[in-house]
């Protein structure tokens, strides 16, 4: 099989592959708002190792769509292409409340060591410095879903106008929009939550799982060229270091070709820095 133009891959594509691999065949999968990268991953899983998975086209609630391209807004009806039936949105939320949603993808403006996510505000409720858009359905579905995959394309530590380093991955979030593996005092069982919470994290630098003892993120694989030090520098907390940190298993050429077919408009690249996107990884 000759696959044109697939002699390299880029960070968005590597992330999509890593995210796709968190899906098991037969999983029920939902993804809501602001979705190019997770949707690329879901479509990829569906077209490779997880053909019996079940997923809905975001808030449009079409079943197993096969869109010719991924739109810049997840509210666009191209996400209903070949979907059948088109459900009512509440049918998916009900399914999640029944404990039948296997996996969902969540990101966060802040992400703490336990996988708690903040998409609500920076600052405090009394003094909001940045009002973020909100968590959509992540606050409640995060309590119900069997597991969720955390993803972030901003695993970095920008320097603010005041000269401070501002992390996405922080010791603790300003506001818990979506609960992770535990709060500071109680784990999910103690909280009485139905779902299992986050079990894996895919960033632009690396992938984590969680240390079963402490529920803290555990560094598992490094993307090509990334060092442990680089991860630690860009992480506002001290992650657990796995005994065997390896390089992130590379994508296959077929996976990369599929990704480019799934998302010909490259909407999955939105939000990445130009320099990150310009870096080409060889197979």
């Amino acid at each position: 099989m000759s696959i044109k133009g697939t002699d390299y891959y880029t960070i968005d594509e590597l992330m999509a592959v890593c995210m796709a691999r968190t899906i098991k065949n037969g999983d029920t999968i939902f993804n809501g708002v602001a979705v190019p990268l997770p949707f690329t991953a879901i479509m990829l899983a569906f077209k490779t190792h997880a053909p019996e998975s079940i997923f809905w086209s975001g808030l449009l609630a079409g079943l197993n769509p096969d869109p010719p391209f991924l739109p810049p807004t997840s509210g666009d009806s191209v996400m209903l292409h070949r979907a059948n039936p088109i459900l009512h949105l509440h049918q998916i939320f009900d399914l999640a409340m029944r404990g039948e949603l296997d996996r969902i993808f969540f990101s966060g403006a802040q992400i703490d060591k336990y996988g708690n996510l903040n998409n609500t505000l920076i600052g405090t409720l009394d003094n909001i410095k940045i009002k973020l858009p909100g968590g959509a359905g992540s606050s409640h579905i995060g309590c119900f879903a069997k597991n969720y995959t955390i993803w972030s394309i901003r695993h970095d530590a920008k320097v603010s106008s005041k000269g401070q380093r501002v992390f996405t991955f922080v010791e603790s979030v300003d506001f818990v929009t979506t609960v992770g593996r535990r709060t500071s005092t109680r784990n999910r069982d103690e909280l009485g939550l139905m779902g299992g919470g986050p079990d894996c994290v895919v960033t632009n630098l690396c992938t984590f799982d969680f240390d079963p003892l402490t529920d803290v993120m555990r560094l598992k694989t490094l993307h090509p060229g990334v060092t442990v030090e680089e991860v630690l520098e860009n992480t506002g907390f001290e992650p657990v270091l796995s005994d065997t940190i390896v390089e992130t298993p590379p994508p296959t050429k077929e996976e990369i070709a599929l990704i480019r077919e799934i998302d010909p408009m490259n909407t999955r690249k939105v939000g990445f820095s130009r320099s990150a996107l310009e870096k080409r990884y060889d197979f």
Partner: protein, 311 residues
């Protein structure tokens, strides 16, 4: 809810909107970039509506513009923004940070259950336990209950009964039967849960025609219908037209330049500067520009071009 048994629901935009009282709880239809009742929203701003409370799921320019126009005091939505494409909602963000708008951030599932409670005539709905988040700090009205059957803990969420659902749909007949094409988002629920509903439609058709195509919403749930072709612009109304991404880009750009710029260059122009919806349509490009938005169904290439056009 509310039984609107009159068989003459056709109304002018200004008269329909004049019925919405300041301080109302409103459920705005559509979702993110899709089928939001933008023409009604612009009229609400023109009429100086204020102190309202919105309840809903993931929205975008509708809630942001309602904030900018001074209509909303409380926003109980699960998301207000422009996704990865254009980022944060500038007016919403600014007004929240200036404490002019009170954020009551909620969750899509909570909205569903709280509207359901109203539809079922109940003071609350139970829900599988939600805890561990600060969303609960914003919602002291949630109560934890021990289930008398299983002993498990459940969250109780009080009913939310909007005073008005504000919806854009495809067709109605003069009685107010509404034809809505999927995706429905939470619109059917919003109409059922609300005391009153204003529905703007692309086209009012005869009762006979509606009988043929089959209604989605029964007329007695609808207070008033207003015929406003392209009434969702700049959001989409599939299958009729896609969204005007270029207009939204301009919107966000102006909004990011601050309150004064946005007022002068957007509100004064597109909201206060027009006397009617028709004038608005002329201003955003008129027939040719709007016709272009209907061409998404000419094929993938055209659709891609419309959505991806270089800004």
């Amino acid at each position: 809810m509310g039984i609107h048994s009159s068989k003459d629901k056709v109304c002018s935009l200004s008269k329909a909107v004049s019925r919405i009282e300041d301080g109302s709880i409103i459920a705005v239809g559509g979702n993110l970039s899709a089928r939001e009742p933008m023409a009604i929203i612009r009229e609400m701003i023109r009429q100086g509506k204020c102190n309202m409370h919105s309840i809903g799921g993931a929205h975008g320019v509708d809630i942001d513009l309602l904030c900018a126009g001074g209509v909303l005091r409380r926003v109980q939505n699960s998301y207000v923004g422009f996704e990865a494409d254009f980022g944060l909602a500038p007016n919403y963000r600014r007004m929240v940070q200036q404490k002019k708008v009170i954020p009551k951030d909620t969750d899509c599932v909570a909205v569903l259950m709280q509207l359901r409670a109203s539809v079922y005539g109940l003071p609350f709905m139970p829900m599988k336990l939600v805890t561990g988040t600060n969303i609960l700090d914003l919602h002291p009205e949630y109560i934890v209950m021990t289930c008398p059957y299983t002993g498990e803990k459940l969250s109780l969420l009080p009913a939310v009964k909007p005073d008005w659902a504000i919806i854009h749909a495809h067709k109605s007949d003069p009685k107010g039967n509404i034809k809505l094409h999927p995706p429905y988002f939470a619109d059917l629920l919003a109409i059922e849960a609300s005391q009153n509903s204003i529905v703007s439609v692309e086209e009012i058709v005869s009762e006979e025609e509606m009988d043929k195509i089959g209604a989605t919403v029964p007329y007695y749930e609808v207070t008033a219908v207003v015929e406003l072709p392209f009434g969702a612009h700049p959001t989409s109304c599939y299958p009729d037209y896609t969204y005007d991404r270029k207009h939204l880009a301009e919107y966000v750009k102006l909004a990011n330049r601050g309150e004064d710029v946005f007022r002068k260059e957007y509100l004064e122009k597109y909201v206060f500067g027009v006397k009617s919806h028709d004038e608005y349509l002329e201003l955003v490009g008129g027939h040719d520009a709007l016709e272009e938005l209907t061409k998404w169904n000419q094929g993938t290439e055209k659709w891609c071009e419309l959505l991806g056009r270089n800004l």
